[in-house]
Symmetry: C2
Subunit: 91 residues, 2 copies
Amino acid sequence: MSEQDVLGSIEGLRSHIDDIDEQIVALLNKRQVLALAIRALKPQAQLGLFDPKREEQIYERIGACNEGPLYADDLRSIYAVILKVSKEMQG
Amino acid sequence: MSEQDVLGSIEGLRSHIDDIDEQIVALLNKRQVLALAIRALKPQAQLGLFDPKREEQIYERIGACNEGPLYADDLRSIYAVILKVSKEMQG
């Protein structure tokens, strides 16, 4: 492959990544809408706003459905921030 | 709604979040497969392994396609970790 062809392939792969990023952003926002809905219901269910058991369950689930190449620890690092920003918005 | 009904609603919303998390994990892994493919091509294109311009482009794109409720800064915090673990795996 010529250098130009390789650059073209890289462009194509990057544009595929851009599509995936759009999907990830949309899903993160959907996730946040649901998290805010749960947040609004919690007082009526006499539930505390922070539930460490639920958080642990989320980490277990993302580890269990992970098929790689990312490691479970990578996903845990990413989800630590997802859950942090989610909780911050829940006040 | 009785407390029991509210708990049922929360369960339903959580199960929807679980589905979204499975999709996010699958997309993060797809993204990493593509990032590794680009990584493998870079030496043939005489490209450096780290490209700060591409990184800035990613941040701009995720901000541009964001419809909320997450803030652009929230997405930036999440993507800082996504890009960090991605680069770590690219060696």
